[in-house]
Amino acid sequence: MDGLERPIRVLIAKPGLDGHDRGALVVAQGLRDEGMEVIYTGLRQTPEAIAAAAVQEDVACVGLSSLSGAHLELFPEVVQALRARGADDILVIGGGIIPDEDINALKNAGIAEIFTPGSSIKQMADYIRQHARTAQLPALASFVEGLDHIGIAVNSLTIAQKLYKDQLGAKEIHHEEVVEQGVRVSILRMGQTEIELLEPLHEESPVARFLAKRGSGVHHLAYRVKDIHAALQAAKTAGFRLIDDQPRRGAHGKWVAFLHPSSMQGVLTELCQPREDRQS
């Protein structure tokens, strides 16, 4: 990994002979202002040359622009040239004067999305962040070690503990009040699996709000990571929506940080790392 703060790299390219580059230039600058690293090919590029540049520059996304009506021929050729180079993980998007009725054909040919006149830079940037991150993922993936625990919100620790201990044979390995979070925590172990039961201390606690909205149930999944600062930075760069910008102290001597459910298929997700000064 060369640097975790590496921004998403995008190649903006003009395939064919079209000379209209106002859109390409404006998008290139706009994506730069959105924090991405953008390379612009200049005019009159063949699909081959675009694919070669994309691979050489190790970009996560290629944005194609054509206003001359040659998109149906040229955009798919870029996708094929990327595939021929084994670079089919690069996200290809396009824009220009493109009739609606062509959009499906382009999508079938592997162009992920088409942005027609009137699209905003923000829309494009968000789309790229959400869809081009596979190319950036090794950064975050390389920190994740596995499931650490399952967090369950409960109204009464006593009742829940009884269920897990008496009926399922779990053993409590830790018990703690985390005042900053307004919760009382009981950590239970069953075989390899840890369960974290969370009971609110008062009504202002986030867990209390969760319970009021949804009742008791799975609150979050927590993954253990190697270097939580770097992992969080990698998640941020890859476009995840973060709840915590910085790791904070969680229960059981861990650093924790949460990712928003909207980035995680609806699951509130915790990244955690045992603290070095931890006392079990």
Partner: protein, 552 residues
């Protein structure tokens, strides 16, 4: 109370009002960031008869602010000239004849990109582009088809062609010859403006120096052989489309024009020999009054440049004649019928600004090339302005408007500043080589995009007043098999043409290009021998090299 006291009192009263009911914005600006006042009133220094004569003059008289002809549209309307061309020469020939039947008064030819960049339709670089944005012309055969049954002494034809302008002009002249029309009876325009290709439009081939030579060769050839031909159409249109402001549009266009004049003088031509055939091409954008003022300011500036700087004596050399096209980049893909209204307002600005000819865009141009129906509505828009609105019944009807006159002055002042700066950089060619114009335009384009995204600039149907689930209109499709059909025709042509004259013509062209002969006669010879546009341009590429844009 005298005037100033009355005005002050009025302003004071208004300020109080505004405290209660604020205006829509704190400050109002034009597209060029010129502040717009609440009200414009007479200015005592400027409204003297002497100041009038100096700044405005009479129509048809220096400095031509009010128009280049004394009677303007009371004499005849502007030429309604719709840019058209797509697919094969046969298809475009049909569209031309349709437009002429509908009352259009001049032709304007759009060529496809391979033609514009000097590639034959069967060149690998032409893949996917044949016939897409204009008609595909690879050889004299295609040109004969394009103008079949159109008498070239009865129409004037404008051709949007730049880097290979000599080749297309040569083809046109040979077709005229074959129709039995003498060259001094043909009239029309080639765009032939390479500098703005480097700046904004992108269909360059050769580096600036040999490109300027091709252009001055045309000036010189036509001044003797084709006296009614407009040898260049110096274009601000594409500069504006690329995102410039109105001020930049005037300034960069005139800076390029100055560079052409200097190149022609350096090639030994006399100013009044070629300058009367220089023509211009501007954009008609959204900011209505600023656009009208822009045309007037450009006319006045050009008159002064030609008289004071280049010592032109012929009044025709000082008259800025221009074509206008409504602003393509203002059209929206959303609710495309709204574009008809945008085009109407822009076209009205062009007419009030005194244009010589006009293209009105079609409503569907943000989606595809125009359908026949859309093209007809666009032409009808001009006809309604001309025949029903009566805006052409008096000359320069907005002349004397306090606002228009102040805007005209301010645009001139700001454009002159740019011109001075470009002069310090060593002129337009040097400024372009350093990427200066490109950067200025790009900066303006990016500001516009941000203002639109932040909702500061309203685009109806895009960032306000939107609708969900729009229906999509019928669009024009270009046959994608055309590339293959053209390739077959070219193979046949290459086999059937007489080889010897063809080879000799290209060899002569090469040695002419290596020396300093006027290239027009040599290109005419090559065209007559059925050399293709690709063969002619590749011969010149070998000698001149190709342009590589600066990295900035």
């Amino acid at each position: 109370m005298n005037f100033q006291e009355s005005k002050n009192a009025w302003e004071k009263k208004v300020e109080t009002e505004i405290g209660k009911r604020p205006e829509r914005r704190k400050e109002f600006h034009t597209s060029s960031d010129i502040p717009v006042e609440r009200l414009y009133t007479p200015n005592s220094e400027e409204s003297t008869p002497d100041a009038y004569l100096e700044k405005l003059g009479f129509p048809g008289e220096f400095p031509y602010t009010r128009g280049i002809q004394p009677t303007m549209y009371r004499g005849k309307f502007w030429t309604m000239r719709q840019y058209a061309g797509f697919g094969s020469a046969e298809e475009t020939n049909l569209r031309f004849r349709y437009l002429l039947e509908q009352g259009q008064t001049g032709l304007s030819t759009a060529f496809d990109l391979p033609t514009q960049i000097g590639y034959d339709a069967d060149d690998p670089f032409a893949r996917g582009e044949v016939g897409k944005v204009g008609v595909s012309i690879s050889s004299l055969l295609d040109m004969q088809t394009l103008f079949a049954e159109i008498p070239l002494d009865a129409v004037s034809t404008s051709m949007t062609i730049n880097a290979p302008a000599s080749v297309l002009l040569a083809m046109y002249l040979v077709v005229a010859e074959q129709q039995g029309v003498a060259w001094n009876k043909v009239s029309g325009t080639i765009q032939n403006d390479i500098l703005k290709e480097y700046v904004a439009r992108g269909t360059y081939i050769f580096p600036p120096k040999p490109s300027m030579r091709l252009i001055t060769d045309i000036f010189s050839f036509c001044s003797k052989e084709v006296p009614n031909w407009n040898t260049i159409s110096i274009s601000g249109y594409h500069i504006r489309e690329a995102g410039s402001t109105a001020v930049q549009e005037i300034a960069f266009t005139l800076a390029n024009a100055i560079a052409y004049v200097e190149a022609a003088l350096a090639a030994g031509l006399h100013i009044d020999e070629f300058a009367p055939r220089l023509s211009f091409f501007f954009n008609a954008h959204n900011n209505f009054f600023e656009e009208i003022a822009k045309f007037r300011a450009a006319r006045r500036m050009w008159a002064h440049i030609m008289r004071d700087r280049f010592s032109a004596k012929n009044s025709k050399s000082m008259q800025l004649r221009f074509h206008t096209q409504t602003g393509g980049s203002t059209l929206t893909a959303q609710q495309p019928d709204n574009n008809i209204v945008r085009v109407t307002v822009q076209a009205l600005a062009a007419v009030l600004g005194g244009t010589q000819s006009l293209h009105t865009n079609s409503r569907d141009e943000a989606l595809a090339l125009p359908t026949e129906e859309s093209a007809r509505i666009a032409l009808r828009t001009q006809q309604i302005l001309a025949y029903e609105s009566h805006v052409g019944d008096t000359v320069d009807p907005l002349g004397g408007s306090y606002y228009i006159e102040e805007l005209t002055d301010e645009l001139e002042r700001r454009a002159t500043q740019y011109l001075d700066y470009i002069e310090q950089m060593g002129g337009a060619v040097s400024a372009i080589e350093q990427g200066y114009m490109q950067k200025e335009i790009h900066h303006a384009a990016y500001l516009t995009q941000r203002e639109i995204e932040q909702g500061e600039q309203v685009v109806v149907g895009v960032n306000r007043f939107t609708v969900e689930n729009e229906s999509t209109p019928e669009l024009l499709r270009v046959d994608s098999k055309l590339g293959a059909i053209q390739a077959e025709r070219l193979a046949k042509l290459r086999q059937e043409r007489a080889q010897e004259p063809w080879a000799k013509a290209l060899a002569d062209l090469r040695s002419g290009a290596e020396g300093d002969a006027n290239l027009m006669p040599l290109i005419l010879q090559a065209v007559r021998s059925y050399a293709t546009i690709g063969e002619i341009c590749n011969t010149l590429r070998d000698v001149f090299g190709e342009y590589r844009p600066p990295i900035y």
